[in-house]
Amino acid sequence: MGKALEARGVSARFNEQVILREVTLQMPANQVTAIIGPPGCGKSTFIRCLNRLHETTPGATLSGEVLLDGHSVYDMDPTEVRRSVAMIFHRPNPFPTMSILDNVAVGLRLHGLRNRARLAESAEQALRRAALWDEVKDRLHLYSSVLSLGQQQRLCIARALAIDPVVVLMDEPASTLDPLSTLVIEELIEELKRQYTIIIVTHNLQQAARVADKTAFFLDGEMIEQGTTTALFTTPQDKRTADYVTGRFG
């Protein structure tokens, strides 16, 4: 089951430059929360704070709190946080030096599972959840680069699901994919939210409207408005939100 995630007054900076200002946002369990906003407004930075990936960048600092099911992730071991809060990147990034199977199994191996049969079993399960199994079951030992981009992105999803996370972060997961692969990913998200809490960054407002239960609008490092997707798109409270969702934004 998914768990709720909550950001409380999260501020982030690169060197002296402030990227995020006091962002507070609730991301309910087993729902899809979409984050929208113009390029460079700090969407990626925000979700990278949620799995503590932000702090691995040189010069990056942050303050505030992120609570996973009520527990502060900044009090936990970062590797454990990342294990519970998985991440999909905007460009598919499977390990090019590993086979398809190893790509999915590597997370479990890292976390100590050695038994081959169980690894294969878990990998299959993850690939099925990512709706990729039927397409790769005969090619498990080939390099991941034989797959199409859309398949590679689903491979990355399978890799993330294999370690049994409770939250899945997606940073524009379909932005480099063709319309058909995008559709497959969107259907997948619909499917996955039964088991995971999903936070998705997207540039595509239709996509947010299609998949998200809740949407938050970011501008210039600040969270301007949040609400149910329907409310945010139909009755925005803030003028800037209204401008953005109606495409009047300059």
């Binding site: 040189p58 590797t79 030096t97």
Partner: protein, 305 residues
């Protein structure tokens, strides 16, 4: 009065530049030809067996490269082993751990190491390395400190100095390779909950193998070609055999040591043949090293010798 067109000027300019290229290449060919001509008497006398004649004996007019090949390969081996182990791990450290200001200070210090002249390394080696080795080994040698061993001079001292001189190359080239490894793959590993060590092993090292190999070859080239510092501490004894602590000679150190005196003609020719052998080996290593390194940076690590 005819006007020279812009096209004409451009052609002239390109021609002059091309001539400069030819001058540089010509100078190189001239150098190689000179080495061959100057070593002709020795080549005629000894043929290819020059490479494995195990002695350098002016009294018997017997000259062979084996003692120096032995010394060169062994000292360069020690050097690249030391520089490889320490340099590669340092490059990983400078890119993966520690705070940023410390990283940049350390990187700067290591670059300074690359710019120090070899003769200054020689002074340092005489002041520091030779006495340390002497202190550590003279006890073990007991009373048997002969002409060929002891007092710190020898193969080990040469190898250690070379190792220090080669290390900046290894660090610079490896660091560059790590910097150009794909970031998103490393982030994928971290996002799976990999530790730093696991991320490096899984998602960084597979992309830098070539760079490391390249840096080691460049290091070998430099270790082979270095004459001055080595000749001051290696003891200058042309012998094939003799252990790490034994006095020895490398191809380059022999040249530095001997050519500053007056020598008989055949020996001079043999020395030039040593130089020829040295050039071939160093050029092969240097070329190999460069061929492994795709992206380059302006860095002292790429300066040869």
């Amino acid at each position: 009065m005819r006007q020279v067109s812009a096209r004409g000027w451009n052609g002239l300019f390109a021609g002059v530049l091309a001539a400069c290229v030819l001058v540089v290449i010509g100078a190189g060919i001239l150098a190689l030809a000179t080495l061959i001509v100057a070593s002709a008497p020795s080549i005629r006398e000894f043929g290819i067996s020059f490479l494995w004649i195990p002695a350098w004996n002016p009294l018997h007019r017997q000259y062979g490269a084996l003692p120096f090949l032995y010394g060169s390969f062994l000292t360069a081996g020690i050097a690249v082993l030391l520089a490889g182990v320490i340099g590669v791990t340092t490059a990983v450290a400078l890119t993966q751990i520690g705070v940023r200001w410390l990283r940049s200070v350390l990187s700067l210090l290591l670059e300074v190491l690359a710019v120090i002249p070899s003769v200054v390394y020689g002074v340092w080696a005489l002041l520091v390395i030779v006495p340390i080795i002497a202190r550590l080994t003279d006890h073990q040698a007991g009373g048997s400190v002969g002409a060929f061993t002891g007092s710190g001079f020898g193969m080990l001292a040469g190898g250690v100095v070379l190792g220090v001189m080669v290390m900046p190359t290894v660090v610079a080239v490896t660091r560059e390779a790590i910097a150009s490894a794909p970031k998103d793959i490393a982030e994928a590993a971290m996002a799976l909950g990999a530790t730093r060590q696991e991320t490096v092993a899984l998602a960084v090292m597979p992309f830098v193998r070539k760079g490391i190999l390249g840096s080691l070859y460049l290091g070998l080239a430099r270790a082979f070609g270095e004459a001055v510092a080595v000749s001051l501490v290696i003891g200058n004894q042309p012998r094939s055999g003799g252990g790490l602590l034994g006095r020895a000679s490398t191809l380059a150190s022999m040249l530095a040591h001997t050519l500053s005196g007056t020598v008989p003609p055949l020996q001079t020719a043999a020395l030039y043949e040593l130089g020829l052998v040295l050039f071939l080996i160093a050029a092969v290593f240097y070329g190999l090293g460069r061929s492994y390194i795709a992206r380059e940076a302006i860095s002292l690590g790429f300066l040869p010798w």
